[in-house]
């Protein structure tokens, strides 16, 4: 007898399963058609880091202390600055980020006292070669003028 009721309960479970999929068949589509529509990134999304624009001077807030360079686990930041007379502290001349090695952990942004760097929001970073991922953040900042 178990043979029959297992048979019936089996076929019943099959039809229930098909019922579910046909219900889903008529429901609206859930996916986002990526190349045509894109979803806005959340406020705290961690893209690659970028220099923050200082509202007064229009330049960057970096004091070239090198803390981010020291704290980065994979050593992908190289910072260089020079002393200019009449300017207190150092002026940033080079801020190179090797994004191929960055693991987006946020140690740099977290330990930056003046808050000179932040996470950017862009995520589609297709590039032809590895060098395309070595960003010069200073030029990027000026580029955004």
């Amino acid at each position: 007898m178990a043979y029959f009721n297992e048979l019936f309960s089996g076929t019943k479970s099959l039809f229930i399963g098909m019922g579910i999929t046909i219900k889903e068949f008529f429901k609206p589509v859930v996916t986002v058609q990526y190349p045509h529509e894109t979803i806005p990134m959340s406020a705290r999304f961690r893209g690659h880091i970028e220099l923050v624009r200082d509202p007064e001077t229009g330049g960057n807030k970096c004091i070239v202390c090198g803390l981010c360079q020291k704290n980065c686990p994979s050593g992908c930041i190289t910072v260089d600055g020079e002393k200019r007379e009449g300017v207190k502290g150092k002026v940033l001349t080079l801020y190179r980020l090797d994004f191929t090695k960055c693991s987006l952990c946020g140690m740099c942004v977290e330990n930056c006292k003046p808050g000179a760097i932040q996470f950017s929001k862009d995520y589609n970073l297709a590039g032809p070669s590895r060098e395309a991922y070595v960003f010069d953040l200073l030029k990027r900042l000026e580029g955004q003028q």
């Binding site: 099959l14 229930i16 693991s103």
Partner: protein
């Protein structure tokens, strides 16, 4: 049904369940000596994605190793951050504020549900059913959005710090999680009807791949694999850490020890995690999110420390040996799937290939975590 394999002289051939195969999630190679459809001997070959995290640990400061822990098992990365943070806090003796503990538990449980949902989809895909994978991903997407709104990352979070969490959660995270739990609760019966009660799947999983308790003890298997064989061992209850004692949730245990039992353990665990999140959100205290006197540069006292956490796949343990400097002297990562997989070669002897793959699916493997 399992062929009792007597002598090896049978005419067998070696089949490579190669590093590139749809059913091995990641790069795991299993050298199977097969006699026709039956497996005579299976020998997993590891190391295809071995990155030597432990050596990286030895030449980075304590805080710099945190992103590595997320890369071990990227499906439940927060549990690994939690394990490492716990071990370091135990070594240094840092007190974590109440609110941070609650946030940690809530985000870890959300991450566990996301990991189980992905396992559910991928497992049924291994058995041939394609559609449940996409329904599960639909739900999982909501968790990833929630966690992204708080931590900024979707998969490899680097959200915990020694003494607390990176930043606080806001209100729409709380309302978002509650709304998510309501939605997943309404969809769970649909999953059970579509998959768990389906006669084809029951026939595929019932008493296939039995794993006995004694085998689990000899191999040190933990997590849902162990709970599927009738042992009530869950680090959250067995070795309570963080604020888990405040939540009342129970541990699903099934005694049959076959693939169906392990499957049902994970399905019920999703329900339990939802209960934890609800209680966590209800009791969320106010207060700081970062310990007041968390040292910037960690220098734990000499000696070795051990901390274990219940990750989605079992008990993840970290053994830190510190010699007082700011870089760890030795950092051992005890990965749960490493032990779970070690019993595969004994468990799948005499089975046919599809059942062995079903068994491997229930072991819920993540190969980067095995290879470290």
């Amino acid at each position: 049904m399992s062929l009792d394999v007597i002598d090896k002289s049978l005419e067998t051939f070696v089949l490579n369940l190669g590093p590139q195969h749809p059913a091995t999630h990641g790069v795991l190679r299993v050298k199977l000596t097969m006699d026709g459809e039956y497996i005579v001997h299976a020998e997993p070959v590891l190391g295809y994605i071995h990155r030597m995290h432990e050596k990286m640990g030895e030449n980075r400061t304590w805080a710099q190793f945190m992103p590595n822990t997320g890369r071990l098992d990227y499906l439940a990365a927060l549990s690994y951050n939690h394990g490492y943070a716990l071990a370091a806090e135990r070594a240094e003796g840092i007190e974590v504020p109440e609110r941070a503990e609650y946030i940690r538990c809530i985000t870890v449980e959300l991450n566990r549900i996301a990991s189980h949902l992905l396992w559910f989809g991928a497992f049924v895909l291994d058995l041939g059913g394609f559609t449940p994978l996409l329904y599960a991903f639909d739900d999982r997407e909501q968790i990833l959005d929630l966690l992204e709104s708080v931590t900024g990352a979707r998969l490899t979070f680097c959200y915990f710090r020694f003494g607390g969490v990176y930043n606080d959660i806001d209100d729409n995270f709380i309302t978002g999680s509650r709304e998510f739990i309501k939605r997943l609760r309404s969809r769970m019966p649909m999953y059970h009807d579509l998959v768990s009660k389906n006669i084809i799947l029951i026939k595929r999983l019932k008493d296939i791949g039995p794993i006995s308790q004694e085998m689990c003890r000899r191999y040190g298997a933990t997590g849902p694999v162990l709970r599927g064989s009738g042992v009530n061992f869950d680090v959250r209850k067995h070795e309570p850490y963080s604020v888990y004692p405040e939540f009342d949730f129970d541990i699903p245990v099934y005694t049959e020890g076959d693939s169906m039992a392990r499957y049902m353990v994970r399905m019920d665990e999703m329900e339990q995690s939802m209960r934890i999140i609800e209680q966590g959100l209800a009791k969320l205290p106010e207060g700081p999110v970062m310990a007041a006197k968390a040292p910037k540069i960690l220098k734990p006292a000499k000696g070795d420390y051990y901390a274990a956490v219940e990750a989605a796949r079992g008990s993840f343990g970290i053994r830190l040996v510190s010699d007082g400097t700011n870089t760890p002297y030795r950092l051992k990562l005890r990965s749960p799937t490493f032990s779970n997989l070690s019993l595969f070669s004994e468990a799948c002897r005499g089975m046919i290939l599809p059942d062995a793959l079903a068994l491997m699916g229930t072991l819920d493997l993540v190969i980067p975590e095995i290879d470290r």
